[in-house]
């Protein structure tokens, strides 16, 4: 609350400046080193004391949440674009899941805290996640109504699976096609349909 200074009371300018600067530094830091780099190192890099860092963001999760909130807008824009441009509900869902995959890849190691957040809804990250689950549910619902997605699938599981795929991806061989394989696996499974007719796109993982 009152992050921009437009809230209950105006933020002191040095505080505001520090906050912004810390976020910039942390963004780059996490992008470079992944989310498990030392907090004190971030403080040092931002030229502030650890106390200042922790006053702004009481722990790593809070810092992460603040960083992700900035990216939220992009993802929401993407959601709107898909909704506008894609009439096939199955393709729309697939595109949305791709967007989620990309979003969760912003920082190395991000899936872990997100999964953890899903278990305790007190977390600032959990709220963000919940929003995306709701969106997933909208796309999924449409696909299910059109008979394009199985009726027993639930949005939360689909979101979790997307996280899981992203998590696994960081162990995938860099030079091979594991990344796409995992998403495709999620879409079509490893099992061939009993009647022998392969679902669309199941012949080869790419696209």
């Amino acid at each position: 609350m009152d992050e921009t200074g437009t809230g209950t009371r105006r933020m002191r300018t040095d505080k505001q400046r520090n906050r912004v600067h810390i976020l910039e530094v942390a963004e780059q830091f996490f992008a470079e080193q992944g989310i498990s780099g030392s907090m004190d190192a971030i403080a040092k890099r931002a030229g502030v004391g650890p106390g200042t860092l922790y006053r702004h963001f009481p722990n790593r999760e809070a810092l992460l949440a603040a960083l992700l909130q900035a990216r939220d807008e992009q993802l929401e824009a993407r959601r709107d674009a898909i909704q506008r441009e894609e009439s096939d509900s199955s393709a729309a869902l697939a595109q949305w899941l791709d967007a989620l995959s990309e979003w969760v890849t912003a920082f190395d190691g991000l899936p872990e805290p997100l999964r953890a957040a899903l278990t305790q809804d007190t977390s600032p990250l959990a709220i963000t996640c919940q929003g995306f689950i709701t969106t997933t549910d909208r796309f999924l619902g449409a696909a299910q109504r059109d008979g394009d997605a199985k009726s027993w699938v639930r949005a939360r599981d689909l979101f979790l699976s997307t996280l899981a795929a992203a998590w696994a991806r960081s162990a995938a061989l860099a030079d091979e096609s594991s990344p796409e394989s995992l998403s495709t696996l999620m879409r079509s499974g490893w099992q061939t349909p009993v009647d022998g007719t392969a679902p669309e796109g199941s012949r080869t993982p790419q696209t």
Copy 2:
């Protein structure tokens, strides 16, 4: 090497005793608290100094590897049983993946180090994993020859997916059916086959 004392040279009896005792304690400890509990706490609980613990197992991963090695036999037995009793290659693969899922659930948090191990084959855990990937490949190969599994799926990805599902499971709602959902998702995907014929077992996640 020479773990039982039958190797190059006989192990001193106190060392042997300590090793066994540490393993017993660690097994229980990890089962209770998950794999991230403090190493020194394990040492204390085993009644030895931290030095002793680390002399036997240079780090958490090594300790974990030693613990898992004991369970390996059970899993191999399971593999043999499946191979003996299940003639349908698709069902056999599914059962093997279930067995893997169960194995990886031995300790809370286990999927993480296993995934990490997959990226650097110097790790003691990596060797264990590699063995299971090979087994997975055998089951997968059979299923693919029978046309029961998609040809583009690779064993390593299937193994990784199993880890990922186990990883995600610990964020699944305890009271709902998420656990099965995730495995089913991996087997059949969320997408309904284009021709409308549902693959076996896709109607509902259980079994």
